[in-house]
């Protein structure tokens, strides 16, 4: 199964909103509401910021939000801040034998 498709990079100015789309297929994103998003700063481990399409773990700022339509999930960062500059990966459940299918990753740059 191929990796989920994400843009390689997106950018925005502080305070702006950016949206990262994540496109899969009817076998993964389109079939399950098990989409999660991870944030990774350089040299650090990934951190879970969204799960079950649109749920934020405790401690994650509410400027991070998730959604899904058909085979595409999206992460929106509202009110962009300097510390949001990082790589972001989507991830979808794709069945018992492919429980994790990651996207290729998107680098968010704060201008």
């Amino acid at each position: 199964q191929s990796a989920l498709t994400q843009p390689r990079s997106v950018s925005g100015s502080p305070g702006q909103s950016v949206t990262i789309p994540c496109t899969g297929t009817s076998s993964d994103i389109g079939s399950y509401n098990f989409v999660s998003w991870y944030q990774q700063h350089p040299g650090k481990a990934p951190k879970l910021i969204i799960y079950a399409v649109n749920t934020r773990p405790s401690g994650v700022p509410d400027r991070f939000s998730g959604s899904k339509s058909g085979n595409t999930a999206s992460l929106t960062i509202s009110g962009l801040q300097a510390e949001d500059e990082a790589d972001y990966y989507c991830c979808s459940y794709a069945g018992t034998y492919t429980p994790y299918l990651f996207g290729i990753g998107t680098t968010v740059t704060v201008l």
Binding site: Q1, A3, Y32, N33, F34, S36, Y38, Q40, A45, P46, K47, L48, Y51, A52, P57, D87, Y89, C91, Y93, T96, Y97, T98, P99, Y100, L101, F102, G103, I104, G105
Partner: protein, 120 residues
């Protein structure tokens, strides 16, 4: 808060074997599934394997099946990833991660990563 502690750096030669570890310092080790995720230099995340700490039920990504073996030791609350014969292309950062037993759960906790370098 759960903490996953990994062995930090491994330097090996092609053909050698290796086992890297991930110790869970939290509670109720057997209530969770543990996974390994590879990140090659400058590249994205790739799921490799997943194991139930309760019964060692294991799933492998087709890309890694036959190349690695994942196991757990409940007496020490540790998950392992093993190679029998390393290749230069195994050079990467390897993260362990933990998730609840419910199907579809995300990886909630991550280790700090083990950097594996394979070079002659």
């Amino acid at each position: 808060e759960a903490q996953l502690v990994q062995s930090r750096v491994e330097v090996k030669k092609p053909g050698e074997s290796l086992r890297i570890s991930c110790k869970d310092s939290g509670y109720s080790f057997s209530n969770y599934w543990f996974g390994w995720v590879r990140q090659m230099p400058g590249k994205g995340l790739e799921w490799m394997a997943l194991i139930s700490a309760a019964n060692s039920d294991t799933r492998y990504s087709p890309s890694f099946r036959g190349r690695v073996t994942m196991s757990v030791d409940t007496s020490t609350s540790t998950a392992y990833l093993q190679w029998n014969s390393l290749e230069a292309s195994d050079t990467a950062m390897y993260f362990c991660a933990r998730r609840p037993s419910v199907t579809g759960s995300p990886f909630e906790s991550w280790g700090q990563g083990t950097l594996v370098t394979v070079s002659s």
